[in-house]
Amino acid sequence: MRHDHLISAAQLSRDDIEAVLDRAAEIDADPAAVRERHAGTVLALCFFEPSTRTKMSFDTAMKRLGGETIDMGSVESSSVKKGETLADTARVIEGYADAIVLRHPSEGSAKMASEFVDVPLVNAGDGAGQHPSQTLLDLYTIRENAGLDDITVGIMGDLKYGRTVHSLSMALTNFDVRQHFVSPESLRLPRSVRYDLHEAGAQVREHEELAGILPELDVLYVTRIQRERFPDEREYREVAGEYQIDPDILAEAKESLTVMHPLPRVDEIDPAVDETPHAQYFEQAHNGVPVRMALLDTLLSQGGRDR
């Protein structure tokens, strides 16, 4: 991968993706080999929104590479509360760290911040935009379970605002993947994502119900339908109920179906699914550490500024 920053999945070629996933597999197999690889390196964790998995997995990844992390703390306790711009925050933190991981509620925030810094910057979620490091761990999980070519992937839930979906669907266009999108009409993929998929020549179909295509799927990627997106609570409940999966529904699926979810889940996957061989979402979350170790190793080894 020859990029200084990871802002969008659209940057990632098949070779980029395979290089990171291969490196992650090496690290997964022998984590001790990289224990001191980035000793003395400092990674800044800049989270302008709450995060558990992404933040902690980047934190763990850096520490397992021998480095350290610094954390700006909550937005309420930072200079952002005093009205500082993101551009200024990024420029200041660049002076403290060798790389920056940024989560921010505004779309385009990571791209903008990357224009103000020379150290590698990773987009860890920009509003309803992109979440490319999540995509790398999603792809790692898919590759482990189903391979990445000649497969059929269903992506279900909030496709409009789901940044993990936007990144994943774009990255999948690098592979021989048939993509089915399942959502309520009001939460369909945004026009910009459909445009990119079309431009990439993706094989894409959109549906309002899972039942018709479930038997074809090798992977079912479920996302949370967010209650706050609906002005009417009853409307939310009616829609959300249509997009819950349980072992009975999965009886129609292939035995080898892999069920994934970026987590946290609320009630879109019945806990009874956890006990089936389909469930891979906790493994998927665990994969966040070796994949982010591989990503950080790649970015820190190839560029950034001279120190």
């Binding site: 505004s106 791209k111 026009r191």
Partner: protein, 153 residues
């Protein structure tokens, strides 16, 4: 200059924007930030017969020459337009507008949650695509009604 164009009076110095698609003259004024409050002398011809376009609009602005960024946006709503620079009643320059590859710092992104709509020290940037413009930060499209998104409009 044809007889039809003479329906709108000649200007001494300034810009004549000719071959504007019929009905777009007021959007041209919006792009130029002209609302009549700052004293410019402006003449507008609407639905004037045109050999090339059938019907066209013409805008003549006294004592003002367009900036490149204004011409870029103009090209989006009036791709057939010609820009005539007039000095002392003579046309000294006559240019067709060209479709730009990017439009920078002129339009606001329609996505209110785009970082360019915050208080950041960054100009909006749009890539011109086949059927409109696309925000380089958040990916949002503008397909039509470009004038509605002009900064400050």
């Amino acid at each position: 200059m044809s007889e039809h164009e003479l329906r709108v009076s000649k200007i001494r110095n300034g810009t004549v924007i000719d071959h504007v698609a019929a009905g777009q003259a007021l959007n041209v004024l919006t792009i130029l930030g002209i609302d009549g409050t700052s004293g410019e002398s402006v003449s507008v011809g609407m639905n004037v017969p045109s050999g090339r376009l059938g019907r066209k609009d013409i805008v003549k602005v006294e004592d003002r020459e367009l900036s490149p960024s204004e011409v870029d946006v103009l090209s989006l709503i009036a791709p057939e337009a010609t820009i005539n620079i007039v000095r002392d009643y003579e046309v000294v320059e006559k240019n067709r507008v060209e479709r730009p590859e990017r439009v920078v710092g002129v339009l606001s992104c329609p996505n209110h949650n785009c970082i360019t709509n915050g208080n950041e020290p960054v100009a909006s940037k749009f890539t011109v695509v086949s059927d409109g413009l696309r925000c380089e930060y958040c990916g949002t499209f503008i397909h039509e009604s470009f004038a509605e998104h002009i900064d400050g409009s």
